[in-house]
Symmetry: C2
Subunit: 358 residues, 2 copies
DNA sequence: TTGTAGGCGTTATCAG
DNA sequence: CTGATAACGCCTACAA
């Protein structure tokens, strides 16, 4: 490229083969890359014109715009996001705060969110609360001044705190419903119903729910729906919990589960279901022979544990994607204008961990 | 708090019970929180004094500093990171770029990195390249102006490109060695040796290596060491690959693995090992009866697949942690001063997927 | 020890 | 359509 013959001066787009040494040196010495001032100098226009050309294309003379673009490209220009954020108040950063990054259900969300953000030229900041409401609140406070919005995935915060944050920055919730705050929710009702239909159809009359943390809205909702269905069907349902939403949390509940003498157990999530099955195996309880087990999420691993786990899947990547799309919509970036909560379809995946009552 | 009696004026730290309405309204109307100007007004000092008091504690009059701190706290002040980044050139953000966020080995790294970053008041920006070198390079270019440094985890970039990035921003590599660029590496030699000892000790004389992507430095290194050990021991070793470093990548290799007629297979990572075992099961090949299988990483799931996977574990959370500590060290933030590469200990986890040659 | 003033890179408001 | 100029919030010599 560089050793092509310099073309005639009047052919647009091929100018700027040569960068004035003075300019080049100044940029190099500064170290941080070219600025709109450098471009302005090279293209012989005012910095404000450069800003305009690069920010709102089409609103100015074709020729000038082309000149500016060419110069910018020649200097390998990138906006300084901090400088940009100052007058606009927009950092072009979104925060995703998750409770436990090692929960495989999270990375689906992250992938979806990252893609949607990247597609819109936004960067994703990630914060982990390690299941602690305090740490979560603190992290969010820290981030408020530097991000344009929040995706709160599986948050442990109170409604009050969430509203407070939402009043300062756009917030989209995942797996949590708070009035007046948009959220992406799995269709709990349908999901639980599918699972209950499956279990009831298999003849189970005593069902236990291994619940998650008290602060988990979605865990409560699942339990509520289970109760409704159990009452309707005239079968017994008991809640065992709260438990940590982890493999260990599931394992540690095995004695209480056994004591409940239920023939089927629905765990709040797959992590717990897997923990329970492992502990059950260690205790000599046969699954699904003596006890059927099911979970939610269909995480990596659910498919190949033995027996393979029956579970209610929801499209987490989609949830992550939709959450940032909603955020961008509120920020006026995307094409969206739907500020409301939406339900995500779920599907029951029947595998070997559940079986008809013997 | 707010309805306590206002204490005598001369007790420090208890001033500012009442915020002048004018100030309060101005801040509220602005919407973006208090600035050092607001604090200055409240504490009756110059903004630069506020900056000093908050930035370099101890270098000024105790009394003034206390006044400023009190005022700042009263106004719930947070630095505007963008504004701060402008004069200093420091965004207080670190980027972690990963090739595939759905690989369970990644979240160990992320957790460690996030913790270390948060502890130092840094935020973590995450970028995923989806195994594409182009996407990776593009994402990095975008981020260069807005982050203070990069952790490149399992990167697919060329040495040249990595050096280029490293010349613009501090870079720490994970699972990749490039001269003059600090990196956190597993101890490949020891790891492979442990595994080879195990396999050779079990009588295997024909070993296959299911390699990862061509661009994976660590995959090549593992293969090299396997070859060395095979030559030393006088046994046969063949490479089967390259393959995608995923479950599917492992599954799709099953025919080639079978064709190789090796009694033991070492996969580049656990994901591939799992894929291979599933495909083997589907094809009626017994593991470890007809074929032993081992992997690397000890990801979530390796323990409870059947048979449980023999694997070489390395402490990924530690790798993530060390990588940002090194970055912070270079940035002059941490207490560290070790700019060099370091080796992470690995340990062999023997499980059911490997067995003595029948 | 504290205040003054200029600058960081960009946007936005006005003129021209 | 383009240029000048004042913010944006903070930092940092330099001066007092």
């Amino acid at each position: 490229m560089a050793d092509l013959q310099p073309p005639p001066e009047d052919i647009p787009g091929n100018e700027f083969e040569v960068i004035p040494p003075a300019l080049a040196e100044r940029i190099a010495r500064r170290g941080a890359g070219a600025t709109i001032y450098d471009i302005a100098e090279l293209a012989n226009v005012n910095p404000s014109t450069v800003s305009r050309a690069l920010t709102k294309p089409g609103r100015m003379s074709q020729k000038t715009e082309a000149r500016v673009r060419a110069a910018a490209e020649r200097l390998d220009f990138r906006f300084n996001t901090a400088a940009r954020a100052l007058p606009t108040g927009r950092s072009h950063m979104l925060a995703v705060v998750v409770s436990d990054i090692t929960n495989p259900m999270i990375f689906g969300i992250l992938r979806g969110a990252e893609q949607a953000a990247a597609a819109a030229g936004y960067a994703l900041v990630i914060a982990e609360s390690q299941e602690s409401g305090l740490a979560e609140a603190e992290a969010i406070q820290r981030l408020i001044p530097s991000v344009d919005g929040f995706v709160l995935a599986t948050t442990r915060l109170s409604d009050l705190r969430i509203r407070d944050i939402a009043s300062r920055r756009p917030v989209v919730l995942i797996n949590r419903d708070v009035e007046h705050v948009p959220g992406i929710l799995p269709d709990v009702r349908t999901g639980v119903d599918q699972l209950m239909d499956h279990l009831l159809g298999a003849g189970h009359r005593t069902i236990a729910y291994l619940s998650g943390p008290t602060s988990s809205w979605i865990s409560r909702r699942r339990w509520e729906r289970i109760v409704e269905r159990a009452v309707d069907a005239g079968v017994a349902a008991v809640e065992i919990g709260p438990n940590a939403p982890t493999v260990d949390g599931g394992s540690e509940a095995v004695d209480r589960v056994r004591a409940a003498r239920s023939t089927a157990v629905i765990a709040f999530n797959d992590l717990m279901a897997i923990g329970l099955m492992r502990a059950a195996a260690a205790a000599g309880i046969s699954v699904p022979g003596e006890m059927s087990v099911a979970g939610f999420d269909d995480i990596f691993g659910s498919e190949f544990i033995v027996p393979a786990l029956t579970t209610v899947r929801s499209d987490l990547a989609r949830a992550g994607e939709r959450s940032v799309e909603q955020l961008l919509g509120v920020l006026g970036v995307g094409e969206e204008s739907t500020p409301l909560s939406e339900l995500l379809e779920t599907s029951l995946i029947v595998r070997g961990s559940t079986a008809p009552l013997a």
